[in-house]
């Protein structure tokens, strides 16, 4: 909320600014408005898949994971409401690609993979996404999934209060509080 601080957008460990909640690029907007953009919908299956992909990125350990924070359901709402048609197209186009990668590597759909296989596949997609971004500056669908996983998880109540720390009414400010490694970070600035 403090606009005067760093004007840094969320990079979310994905090497690029947060996608969503920004206007369509001027160059694209005119074209897409004339041609009716296609409407995308999420099936319940999509949400379950996203939950599992998110859980692979941020798994439950001794603290809650992405599924506990209902990250899949959050992605559905955020992509539908905050993404431009072009961004939605990239995101929705990514789900069959993710399944195709799973099929190519293991001969099975993502949901059928075991935890180790899922982690391996997601690591590979993460590298692929970073490589595409580095080489061409283009966004890879997995970058969107990872951003929304991190954003959706750490801004959730579960993420903010059980994985990070949150005090609704701090009441005072201490600018020099002792900190020991391993202690949780504050949820918000």
């Amino acid at each position: 909320m403090n606009r005067r601080e760093l004007l840094k957008l969320i990079t979310a460990a994905t090497g690029t600014a947060m996608v969503g909640g920004t206007a369509a690029l001027a160059g694209c907007a005119t074209g897409s408005r004339e041609a009716q953009p296609p409407t995308y919908t999420f099936t319940e299956e999509d949400v379950r898949l996203l939950d599992e992909v998110a859980e692979t990125i941020l798994p439950r350990t001794d603290t809650p994971g992405a599924k506990d924070a209902r990250v899949g359901a959050f992605m559905k709402v955020f992509v539908t409401d905050c993404y431009t048609p072009q961004e939605q197209a990239l995101f929705h186009g990514g789900l069959p690609q993710l399944e195709a990668s799973a099929e190519a590597r293991y001969g099975q759909r993502f949901m059928a993979l075991d935890t180790a296989q899922r982690t391996e596949l997601i690591r590979e997609l993460d590298r692929e996404a970073k490589a595409v971004l580095a080489a061409s500056g283009r966004l890879h669908y997995f970058t969107l999934i990872k951003q929304l996983t991190l954003f959706g998880f750490f801004t959730s109540e579960v993420g903010g209060t059980e994985v990070l720390r949150y005090v609704a009414i701090p009441g005072r400010y201490d600018g020099c509080m002792p900190y020991e490694e391993g202690e949780r970070a504050w949820a918000t600035r």
């Binding site: 760093l6 969503g20 798994p59 905050c82 801004t155 903010g160 400010y173 490694e181 504050w186």
Partner: protein, 561 residues
């Protein structure tokens, strides 16, 4: 018509209008306070004040629908879920951009006093002298000494947390204890002091967030939630609602009328006095007239000028105050969005508790003491040090438990700051009426034709390089200087368009903010500014308003208005 008469009418209920209403009512005048937007009642109507980020379906990010409804707001940070509906409706209130101008308006009771940055600095003696010394625009009709007692007066009431730093460039005021610097900032301050031979200073920001309660105003001290923009249920920051409006209401002399768009000041050309105002009811579109002995225009810089442009047009085509040829001209803002950031090694065993609504400030240090940079005036910085959060890059962990574990802990310390630079008053930076475009009520709208020029562009080079030098001196590494680009209006410090001066032929207002051609009309918001300084302006509007009311009431008693 008897019940439509008041001793005074105040147009606009933001920072300066709230002050005008408070001062006038406390001096015993019956006051009508007109506000074009809806009412927002203190605490009761702060509907998001206790919500958390997870209570918003989109976690406080704007949706495409919001972006479509607010094409201007969506250009920058202000459009979000938590403050949605707190900015003027852009569909009903269009304006014309001869050049791109980002205009952020608060059309509701309290105006932008609910949505301000709260940094509260005094202009310095040199700010009031600069135009005359440099032969730029016109001289301010007042000096620092004229305003100093009024700064004292408004600071005590508003409640400013700050430190008395004893710097000539930034006069000290009447402060409550400052909001603390964190340990990284404290050490940075010492290093900067040493590195620049005591010529550059990192100090506490001075903000209108109280650190000690004000029980007489029903206000608690800051609770460090950093949710000021959602309305503070503790009344811990200065706003019309928390401070000036209750004071005015308590006198029993105030009538507040929301949904009241003032379309013109009614003018008696024989008496050379305003007789009142014409109001269009924003809801039923009916027109009403209210009369008064004195009128204060506090509708926000551009809207106060808009009212003048629409007033007494049978006498002056360009409106009341246009005789000078300066009405609508000399638009200023503060240019910003450039600076630097870097990393601070160490302090891994230090963190902070609480969320500050403030940070540090570095007052102007350029073009002082005989220094001559290739531009006029100067700039200050606002910044903060903090530990990185979950949105940082952790290259060593791609996905999985290690990633989650790493992001659950704070990252390293970072420090960053943004410059705020003075914009000179250029005659050709102007707003004017565009009669071909009308708003929801059929009223002509403003057109904006404003740009920064070579002086500001030159200054921005220093704003970036000096930020790099200062942060490096503070011990930061990997320091990156940046220019994020500036568009006029983004500072949300629009000023000028009805400047104060010493001569009715070159200024719109005199030294007490009276319209030269209608001495019972006062303009005490940002429109009156003769130059911009580089410090945040709202505190100065408060002081100018209190001073103008004092003068107005004395003049009324003498029968001069």
């Amino acid at each position: 018509m008897a019940n439509n008469h008041y001793d005074a009418i105040v147009v606009g209920s933001g920072i300066s209008g709230g002050w005008a209403a408070k001062e006038l009512t406390e001096k015993g005048l019956k006051v009508l306070l007109l506000e074009r937007g809806r009412n927002i009642e203190h605490v009761k109507d702060y509907k998001n004040a206790t919500k958390e980020v997870w209570d918003y379906p989109h976690r406080d990010r704007p949706t495409q629908e919001m972006i479509e409804n607010y094409p201007v707001l969506s250009r920058d940070f202000p459009l979000n879920e938590s403050t949605y509906g707190m900015w003027a409706d852009e569909q009903k209130n269009p304006y014309v951009e001869k050049q791109r101008f980002d205009w952020y308006r608060g059309y509701h009771v309290g105006g932008r006093s609910l949505l301000w940055g709260r940094h509260s600095y005094r202009l310095s003696p040199m700010d009031f002298e600069a135009n005359a010394r440099e032969g730029i625009a016109v001289d301010w009709p007042i000096r620092y000494q004229d305003l100093a007692p009024w700064y004292d007066y408004v600071e005590k009431f508003a409640g400013i947390a700050g430190n008395r730093d004893g710097l000539n460039v930034l006069p000290d005021g009447q402060y409550q204890p400052p909001i603390p610097l964190n340990c990284v900032e404290k050490d940075a301050a010492k290093r900067i002091e040493k590195a620049f031979g005591g010529k550059r200073h990192l100090i506490h920001s001075r903000v209108a967030n109280i650190t000690q309660p004000k029980p007489e105003q029903g206000r608690a001290n800051c609770q460090y939630r950093n949710k000021c923009w959602l309305g503070c249920p503790f009344g811990a920051y200065f706003s019309t609602q928390s401070s000036t409006l209750p004071a005015a209401v308590n006198t029993g002399n105030l009538t507040l009328r929301p949904f009241s768009i003032v379309s013109q000041v009614l003018y008696d050309k024989d008496k050379k006095r305003a007789t009142g105002v014409e109001v269009i009811d924003a809801e039923n579109h009916q027109t009403y007239e209210y009369t008064a002995d004195v009128v204060f225009l506090n509708a926000s810089s551009f809207n106060s000028t808009w009212i003048l442009m629409n007033s007494a047009t049978d006498v002056w085509e360009g409106g009341l105050g246009s005789r000078s040829g300066e009405l609508g001209h000399n638009v200023m803002d503060h240019h910003f969005r450039c600076g630097a950031s870097g990393e601070i090694d160490g302090y891994e065993d230090k963190y902070y508790y609480g969320r500050r609504p403030a940070g540090f400030y570095i007052p102007r240090f350029r073009n002082l003491g005989g220094e001559e940079r290739p531009y006029r005036r100067g700039f200050g910085y606002q910044g903060a040090a903090s530990r990185e959060r979950w949105d940082r890059d952790v290259a060593e962990f791609e996905v999985g438990a290690d990633l989650k574990n790493a992001l659950s802990q704070p990252g390293g310390w970072i420090i960053g700051m943004t410059g705020f630079g003075e914009i000179l008053p250029y005659h050709d930076n102007r707003i004017y009426l565009d009669k071909h475009v009308t708003d929801h009520w059929g009223l002509p709208v403003l057109a904006m034709d404003v740009e920064i020029k070579e002086n500001e562009r030159q200054m921005r080079r220093d704003m970036i390089q000096d930020a790099i030098d200062i942060l490096e001196a503070a011990g930061a590494t990997n320091v990156q200087g940046s220019d994020w680009g500036y568009t006029p209006g983004q500072g949300i410090h629009e000023m000028g368009t009805a400047r104060m001066g010493r001569d009715p032929n070159t200024s719109v207002l005199n030294g007490y903010n009276q319209v030269w051609d209608a001495p019972n009309v006062f303009v005490t918001d940002g429109a009156c500014m003769t130059s911009a300084s580089n410090v945040n302006p709202s505190l100065t509007y408060m002081a100018l308003t209190a001073r103008a009311v004092d003068h107005a009431v004395k003049e009324l008693k003498k029968g001069n208005l």
